[in-house]
Symmetry: C2
Subunit: 149 residues, 2 copies
DNA sequence: GCGGTAACGTTATAATGTTACAAAACTGGC
DNA sequence: GCCAGTTTTGTAACATTATAACGTTACCGC
């Protein structure tokens, strides 16, 4: 993500939080910024390390609290299969994403494919299941890594 | 899963492993049995506790090695979003499952919906991504728990 | 300013998972 | 049967991920 795009998302995040009456505090903004700056998912403890530059004495709860908040606001996603976090690139609308995680280079693509969501919806509704949070993560190899081997 | 069905799956597992030239050792069978006996997913350390009845001094590697083997053989699945494991109820053929995890009662349904798999396939192929392991877990509320609130 | 709530600091600890290396068990060829 | 090689298991230590508990500080509406 380019410096400019990061700025955009950050101010969008600001606006969204203000609109919702919640507080995007300095710490939370720092965590979000760190995630957006990384082109790969970052673990909570890596974030903790990176926070040391801007925050005095961050402890695990510091980063987990920020992450919890950011996830509630849809600004950050957790990748359950690798215990790491990514900044959301289009937080302006609620969405159910699918993540393609490259096992080679570690990069992650965030898709938002309606037909996938719809099929999942159908399949779960058929047995009366009400989905609150879908987790869809495909582990594999991205196009770039497939090519250059 | 009934006692009888557990027996069936266990002997199927035996047959499959023999066919593939891999060893379903006593420990591995114990772990598989424990998972099948539970109607809910079980964490690695819970399994470890339950193993103490039949195995002398189980340590974490004991259970993780068994789980790794069983997952490789498609006899067990890991639920990434809750760090727990379930025995597969139909291990006879390779399959990409979807899991519906009830946040209320903790029970899990394993689906195998081809149209979902197909849509995921399409969406990922479209950007040249090759999926090795799909993780599809829907967190929500099952029919029974929805009804009785 | 004051009182209530939300956010943060701090310490400790729980839960989950891995590394590394030695010992034992099994397998296949003779 | 026995040996050599491989797989499996035992064991101790350690690494990573996440939460509990409780006190303090900052913010916000009145």
């Amino acid at each position: 993500m380019t410096r400019k795009d990061i700025g955009k998302v950050l101010s969008l995040a600001d606006a969204l939080c203000h609109e919702r009456g919640v507080r995007l505090t300095e710490q939370r903004k720092i965590v979000l910024k760190l995630l957006l700056e990384s082109d790969k998912p970052v673990s909570a403890y890596d974030l903790l390390d990176r926070m040391r530059e801007t925050v005095k004495n961050p402890a695990p709860p510091t980063v987990y609290r920020a992450l919890d908040f950011l996830m509630e606001q849809g600004l950050v996603h957790k990748l359950e299969s690798i215990n790491a976090f990514v900044g959301c690139t289009h937080p302006d609308h609620p969405h159910a994403s699918q993540f393609l995680i490259c096992a080679d280079c570690g990069e992650v693509a965030e898709l938002e494919d309606d037909s996938v969501v719809q099929k999942l919806q159908q399949a779960s509704e058929a047995i009366g299941f009400k989905t609150k949070r879908p987790v869809v993560e495909l582990m594999g190899t991205c196009a770039q890594c497939s090519g250059k081997k």
